[in-house]
């Protein structure tokens, strides 16, 4: 079955929030269950960042056990590196997916670790943006999709250094085509890339197949100066760059298969995050997104 058919079968999740192991500090940072209870429209689903070695923390476990919708955001697979699909990791992922039924899998399509999957080797680098790097990435996506029987949505990673002669959107358009997959477009990560390359925020989007966009991310960023260079950090704070909102609004109006938006703000207090959620909610309502979703 091709992507066009498969994407119709995916559930509309609406607006959600992200978490990862240990992200929630009681009384200080966002409690996804509390968000859902107090602002149901902002907590329709939870995107859980998963490192198989760490597992799922108590907060994510409570959410999943309550049978609320969730998505599995991997944090530990180099999709373009065949050696990374070792039998132990694959069996653990498949067991988790089978047992807990995430709506889909997604995650940054980049280098999560160098060498073997050990804590000392963890980082996140964007993929090499060249034509010959497309197929290995596509094959990894197909492999994981086949093994888990779930959609696997590659996400454009953040970065300070992007290597290769393709525009990031051109690379991911090719990956989506070669893997026949949808994609998670991170608006904040794209804003970082565009600024780094002195492009306008929405440059390249007109040529990008926006029907492949199934999920969007919005997140805060901060700008730092290093040796005369402006470095944008994807810090998941609540200060969202205007560029990020511009990309978000542009894509929202043109992505017919959009099923979910995550506002990544997991390490901030509920009060600090409300303005961002309201902004996302207003935009999705204006564009009549997620009309099937009832939190």
């Amino acid at each position: 079955m091709g992507f066009e058919s498969r994407v119709r079968a995916l559930p509309q999740l609406g607006i959600g929030v992200s978490t990862e192991y240990g992200a929630h500090t009681p009384g200080q940072t966002l409690d996804p269950m509390l968000l859902r209870a107090q602002h149901p429209a902002f907590g329709c689903f939870l995107e859980v960042g998963v490192e198989i070695a760490k597992g799922i923390d108590d907060d994510a476990r409570r959410w999943i056990d309550a049978r609320h919708p969730w998505t599995y955001h991997f944090l530990d697979i180099n999709l373009d590196e065949p050696e990374d699909f070792d039998a132990h990791w694959m069996s653990q992922v498949c067991a988790l997916v089978d047992a807990e039924a995430p709506a889909w899998l997604c995650g940054d399509a980049g280098l999560w670790h160098f060498g073997p999957r050990e804590p000392e080797n963890m980082l996140l680098l964007p993929p090499l943006l060249t034509a010959d790097a497309v197929l290995p990435m596509a094959e990894g996506i197909q492999r994981l999709r086949s093994a888990t029987s779930r959609e696997v949505l590659p996400e454009n990673p953040p970065g300070t250094i992007f290597l290769g002669d393709l525009h990031l959107l051109d690379y991911f358009a090719r990956v989506c085509d070669a893997a026949d997959t949808g994609m998670l477009l991170d608006c904040a990560h794209l804003a970082i890339y565009q600024r780094q390359h002195e492009h306008a925020p929405t440059a390249g989007l007109d040529a990008f197949p926006l029907d492949r966009v199934v999920e969007l991310h919005v997140a805060g960023s901060s700008v730092k100066e290093h040796a005369g260079q402006n470095i944008i950090e994807d810090d998941h704070g609540t200060t969202v760059l205007p560029d990020t909102w511009e990309i978000f609004d542009h894509v929202l109006a043109r992505a017919p298969n959009l099923k979910a938006v995550v506002y990544e703000c997991e390490r901030n207090s509920l009060e600090e995050t409300l303005e961002g959620f309201e902004r996302v909610h207003a935009a999705t309502t204006a564009h009549r997104c997620f009309q099937e979703v009832s939190p």
Binding site: F114, E118, L128, A133, T160, I161, G164, H226, A227, Q229
Partner: protein, 277 residues
């Protein structure tokens, strides 16, 4: 260079500014002594050079993680000599080779400690022991699995031969580091612990069995020299005739050896694969 090779080179450049400078200025990888192709160099040098060192904490984050594994060895290294710094690891061939070969950074750091602090017996001894303990905690394979029938050491076990007194020194060092009010790593890095009265022994080397425990930690026990020889042979996946030779060296018959291996198998020290019962 393949996309994967370029990725690995980019990781190395992120950790090693001297390598980055050499690639930009000369297209040479001085650590592995190779010229980078013009195409690869063009890809690698397109970003502004300074961007490669825009994360000033990359090395220290990794060292902090490595300190958790090699707490005692690092404490002794820093106590014995201010140079080399632990971050010099990132300029070493062993680090760069580990990235190219996709092998463990932890193991590479252990080897670097042993080689770099060879004149400081405590550091080298403790690095070997702490590296072995980490191997069993993480169940790293000691040797590649083969299809042929084999007795081999369990992934939950390792053997180590270290200078006399190393296990006691490890125990005493950790006890003192762990007493620090901030953290053991802080004590190690800032030299805020007392080690002057601790020392290695002078007798025969210790032969140790390291085993993963039920909680995911690791335990140390002493084994006899003949047992060490046997377990060491098993750790390199030695064929049966080589095991028999080890047995014969210690006056054990084939029947004795078979019985011993089966006992070790029951204890979880040894595993057998593809062996007819």
């Amino acid at each position: 260079m393949s996309p994967l090779a370029l990725q690995r080179m980019s990781v190395r450049m992120l950790y090693d500014w001297e390598l980055t400078t050499s690639i930009y200025d000369a297209g040479v990888d001085p650590i592995l002594d190779v010229h980078v192709s013009a195409t690869a160099r063009e890809v690698l040098t397109r970003p502004a050079r300074e961007l490669w060192r825009s994360d000033p904490y990359r090395q220290s984050r990794t060292v902090t993680a490595l300190l958790r594994v090699f707490k005692s060895a690092c404490a002794w290294a820093l106590l014995r000599t201010p140079q080399p710094a632990l971050t010099d690891f990132f300029a070493s061939p062993v680090f760069h080779s580990s990235i190219e070969d996709r092998t463990s950074t932890v193991r590479a750091f252990g080897r670097w400690l042993e080689e770099t602090f060879v004149g400081h017996a405590e550091v080298a001894a403790l690095a070997r022991l702490e590296g072995g303990l980490d191997d069993v905690r993480r169940r790293r394979a000691s040797s590649p699995r083969r299809d042929a029938p084999r007795w081999s050491l369990s992934p939950d076990a390792r053997v180590a031969q270290v200078p006399n007194g190393t296990s006691d020194l490890l125990h005493a060092t950790i006890q003192r580091l762990d007493k620090h009010a901030v953290s053991a790593a802080h004590a190690a890095v800032h030299g805020e612990w007392e080690g002057a009265d601790l020392t290695l022994g002078a007798g025969a080397p210790e032969t140790l069995l390291l085993q993963r425990d039920a909680e995911g930690g690791a335990q140390i026990s002493r084994v006899s020299a003949p047992m060490y020889d046997l377990l060491a042979a098993l750790s390199v996946d030695a064929p049966l005739n080589a095991l028999a030779a080890v047995g014969a060296k210690h006056d054990a018959s084939l029947e004795d050896l078979d019985e011993l291996l089966r006992d070790l198998c029951e204890d979880g020290v040894v595993v057998c694969s593809n062996l007819a019962s």
